[in-house]
Assembly symmetry: C2
Homo-oligomer: 272 residues x 2
């Protein structure tokens, strides 16, 4: 039987940082089941916090905190000293180092990271841009974009565009189909902005077959035919070559990994 | 003059967790400038790591690591013991607690969190769904969605949809315009799936004015007129009331905060 470890995530803001870390740690223990349903965002109240800590102790849970308030943090550390509750404090040790280094005290204001500033508006604008110019809907987008993603069907163009938009890149994308001529505007895009996505044909076939399943369609469609996929990929590589696009193999890469590699490529190019 | 602290983020995967944490900590020190340009994802090589640590020491940097390999982690901790380099190790203390609790050893495989599993495919499908059914483009989406967001122009419907899609909710959204009749399909959506976004008129006016600026349009358009905004909001509240939608005030809330509140509402409703 799988061991189950309940994880209590307590934050005085949204608690995203904890969730990211918990997922990363959980991935290192595939034989352990982590119960991640205990999330307590926007924590303010000392009595409520004490109640949650008591529950965590009863449940044999590990507690992960992202609390900027030193009052709340002290409650957790006192409770843990008294009872042996195991916890990870993500904020305080880090804030303490910054304090030592700079002599500056932290604000201790929860949720300060989410200011509605220009950066925020740019992010919203980038997300709207990505939606507007997804799937080659409007070729005008190619001329305004920071990044133009090119690739055959099912190479993660849409989720990659959204992920990059979250980092404030304006992204347009175009599906490559051998039978459909390229839009004229594409030739005016500086080649440094073009990213061509490639994928191994066998992996692509699995993804397309699963796509057909989910759409309730037959598997033996040309869409999931290995020869057709190879033809499409060959065509895509020719296009990347003609346009001078940077090409990235997305086989077995997550959206996060592929997006990070694209952003690195863009930044390294800018700094040259 | 602002103090500048360079932050070195070293990860054997993408390094997103570090970046989230670093942003959260930086927000607590508004008078300190953090240089976040030192990002080292996909770290594998011991010699390269040693070189980066030496640079960090020279720069007076704080190092944040998300390393699952115990070899690499030991290099960082040895270096720090020898030189006094200050660092935050996000993974090891946590993995150590899990190990103590379960007796299970971690895999130490970098990037394991990004498996191409069903959860991953569902996320991609949800993002594509959100793009397809953004802005009321196709009313069929309302019937298939997990969440339908309603709101007047500039209430963050699109970025909220994308953010929720990342958590695998299928989200459709509809802009409310007093002059445009509601689509018939909306009346068939169970009211538990409907979320109405509201915002303070003055905040909305600022956002719309900034929107007009960015589009190069005149400020005195009806779009940013306070009376018009109040009329639109009054109409929206009537619609939410008629349909029995849960309503959420997004004034001064970040996308993350608003999305977390919507997800909490959905989950609390499911568990009733």
């Amino acid at each position: 039987m799988k061991k189950t470890v309940p994880l209590y995530m307590i934050s005085d803001a949204v608690g995203e940082t904890s969730l990211k870390l918990v997922n990363a740690v959980a991935a290192q223990f595939p034989s352990v089941e982590f119960d991640m349903s205990y999330r307590f965002p926007f924590m303010k109240d000392e009595e409520e916090l004490k109640g949650i800590l008591s529950d965590a102790l009863k449940d044999g849970a590990i507690v992960v905190t992202t609390l900027v308030s030193s009052n709340l943090t002290e409650i957790v550390s006192d409770f843990s000293n008294r009872t042996g509750l195991q916890y990870i404090d993500l904020m305080c040790p880090f804030m303490e180092i910054v304090h030592q280094k700079t002599g500056v005290s932290p604000l201790q204001e929860a949720g300060t990271v989410h200011k509605l500033n220009q950066e925020y508006f740019n992010r919203v604008a980038a997300i709207e841009f990505a939606v507007k110019y997804d799937d080659g809907k409007d070729p005008k987008g190619f001329l305004e974009a920071d990044i133009v993603l090119l690739g055959i069907s099912r190479t993660s163009k849409t989720p990659l565009s959204m992920y990059l938009a979250n980092s404030r890149y304006k992204v347009a994308n175009l599906p490559l189909i051998p039978e459909v001529p390229l839009p004229e505007q594409l030739k005016q895009v500086p080649k440094e902005k073009l990213v061509g996505l490639i994928i191994e044909p066998e992996t692509q076939q699995k993804i397309r077959t699963s796509r057909l399943h989910s759409l309730g369609l037959q598997e033996n469609s040309r869409y999931a035919d290995i020869k057709r996929i190879k033809d499409e990929l060959k065509y895509a590589l020719e296009v990347f070559d003609d346009l001078g696009a940077f090409s990235l193999d997305v086989t077995n890469k997550s959206i996060e990994e592929a997006a990070t590699l694209i952003a690195e490529h863009m930044d390294s190019h800018l700094s040259v």
